[in-house]
Symmetry: C2
Subunit: 414 residues, 2 copies
């Protein structure tokens, strides 16, 4: 007998009928002899509506109140799921973050889990009760409600699985698993049967929205097997293979590239002719950090004879205008001749733990893109990822060319 945490996302519990369907999946696992703790998101659209109320109410949102408001969505789903399970004759009860003792720090809106006091819940699981936990929410030291950021229910689920020493954490979502790349763009994309924590973490941070990044970090840290699978298939996690996120193994390294992520939501700003000396970078990036603008890829050209250089960086497209005006205000302090910007750029990232032991990944990427006439604006590499910035209009072409070049989708890529 295993202990499984089953997490259902917003579309999986999108309305009352879908909650009933999800409850049937839980019943199916129980009937196979497993103990189950369920984690639920808010019904699809509810969090957006509640966030809309908050932003209408105040220009400067107090995130402690924001969290009190938006956590109500998960509270409702948890109670409804418990009722749906009772229909099938099972004992079930809902647990809010504060009831469970899911303690977080005080960073409202993006709180991090500190610990989970799961002993009461575990005791009730032993007695045969099904636990239904409201995802996304916790409580801080002051007994106030916190939320874990968008996608935070994934992290709730993994953290609960860790606290309960569960055998597996199944994340039910509206896709079949993790794909080699976006199948809406590349029809040849295939579902991976397995992916390593490290790769999944890169994919999540690079724009693949299947799992919240923090949930993968936590799974990796505690070596909790996580399975991503479709809520709209009839079978359940113990029978239906989704994508298992797990420890990297030697055979995984045979493949150089496991998956390709992309983000179209990028913009680039270039500062022309800044002084190539210590301290200039701080003058650029400190005011951007104060404005809470996240900077991603940074590249600096070789110094000119006059000691000047150009510096480019990328940011999320919605931050472009703010970043631009921050830099304009700092012109005197930074000392550049002009600002250039590219608002329509995309980032394409190859990910694979095989890169550690294989050379030439970047070279093949450049060749492939060059053959299609795609210009590379910026290159960035890390141990298991190679990313390029290109004009956004080439996104689909680049994805398809790279997917084919690395032999993805030809067979199971796990």
């Amino acid at each position: 007998m295993s202990l499984i945490v089953m997490k259902f996302g917003g579309t999986s519990v999108g309305d009352v009928e879908r909650i009933k369907k999800a409850a049937e999946k839980v019943v199916s696992e129980i009937q196979q002899g497993h103990k189950v703790a369920v984690v639920v998101s808010a019904m699809a659209g509810v969090t957006d509506r509640l966030e809309g109320y908050c932003s209408t109410m105040a220009s400067q949102t107090d995130y402690s109140e924001h969290d009190a408001v938006v956590s109500a969505g998960e509270q409702v789903t948890a109670g409804l799921m418990a009722l749906a399970l009772q229909r099938h004759g099972y004992k079930a009860r809902s647990w809010q973050g504060w009831q469970l003792g899911l303690h977080t720090d005080a960073f409202y809106g993006k709180a991090r889990i500190k610990d989970i006091q799961a002993s009461a819940l575990r005791q009730r699981l032993e007695w045969g009760e099904v636990a239904v936990v409201a995802g996304f929410q916790g409580v801080n030291e002051e007994d106030r409600i916190t939320t874990l950021g968008r996608g935070g229910s994934d992290t709730s689920a993994v953290a609960l699985a860790v606290a309960l020493k569960a055998d597996r954490c199944d994340i039910y979502t509206d896709v079949d698993g993790v794909f080699t790349t976006d199948p809406r763009i590349v029809p040849q994309a295939t579902k991976m049967s397995r992916v390593s924590y490290e790769e999944m973490l890169e994919l999540a941070s690079l724009g693949a929205k299947v799992l919240q990044e923090r949930s993968v970090e936590m799974a990796m840290r505690f070596r909790m097997p996580v399975q991503v699978l479709s809520t709209f298939e009839d079978a359940v996690g113990s029978a239906l293979p989704g994508t298992l996120v797990t420890e990297g193994t030697l055979d995984m390294e045979d493949k150089v590239v496991t998956g390709i992520a992309y983000s179209r939501n990028e913009a680039q700003i270039t500062l022309v002719r800044i002084a190539d000396k210590p301290g200039v970078a701080a003058k650029i990036f400190a005011p951007l950090a104060r404005a809470e603008i996240n900077v991603d890829m940074i590249v600096q050209t070789a110094s000119r004879d006059d000691g000047s250089t150009d510096l480019s960086f990328t940011i999320a497209r919605e931050d472009h205008d703010r970043a631009f005006s921050v830099l304009e205000k700092e012109k005197g302090s930074i000392g550049y001749t002009k600002l250039l910007s590219l608002k329509n750029v995309a980032k394409i990232s190859l990910v694979g733990i095989g890169m550690r032991s294989h050379a030439g990944v970047a070279a093949k990427m450049f060749e492939t893109l060059a053959a299609k006439g795609i210009n590379i604006l910026v290159i960035e590499t890390s141990e298991i990822n190679t990313s390029v910035l290109i004009a956004e209009e080439y996104t689909e072409l680049a994805l398809r060319a790279l997917h084919a070049a690395y032999g993805l989708g030809e067979e199971d890529a796990g």
Copy 2:
């Protein structure tokens, strides 16, 4: 400087704009130098929607989950109201029942308040913060969420006012106050400026839906002045006279009748020829109680020569069919010859503390109704109320005739 509890009902916080308007009323009281704790209901329609989800989910609702689900409505309004107050530059924070320490018994769906640990909230009021409390909800000994029944936010407000030793509890609603009778039926009805706790309690229990009955009981027990007033007038409680529910005074007793309540939602069942001997009533009412059917007016005719008698009682109309079939099943045990029912009857009740010291109230009522050709089916009197059951179609006629006969609405009836 006073400490005032301001409670806003569902229509008063019906949408984001109305919450902003209600916040302006709070600001107005603060600017007059008062400390304020606010109690809010769910936005209009939200509780109904959440209850609808629950009943779709399960035929036998587990009320502990029902309460977890429906309490989410007040949670949302409380957070939004705190945000709305912050817009005006005030410190404000929301309090859920469990955060406040509003402890109740374990009767989910209809829990009763046991105590409120208001010391933390009071401390913050002293520091100049505005408290916004989610009405309708509390927490029981097991740390599970309970709700106080329909209209329960009134009781939350009065209980909080008592716990905080507030100077007054203002209940903002969609009417101007408590009227001598329903002004939709009797245009001459006027708002009372004052009404005694005892009278208000009778009016509330007899179908006047302005305040939840328990809130009046609690206000009476702790002698907390409660003011009912309109949320849609510009002025606020410290300036706008609504209806003050307060101690009865001698001058109030000059009026025999203060208000007239009615309930159209009545049905009557008569058991013909039951044995007029001890134990028969128990055989009738025990099975009805087991079926959770509330019986109201009971009347038994004088015994016939053969020792048989007829017994009639009234119930809420929606319970009629269930009550009828309960009694059919018990026919053998009770021993009646047949069951008669009247499904369209209404109860009209005169209320006034002056009845204690004035005779002839009932006689005048009967004369007035007789003059209009209205037949009285049942009469029931208590110390400060005289009620009759009549055919429902005469409701408006009876209300208008009685309102005029007792001189209500001619001047301030307080």
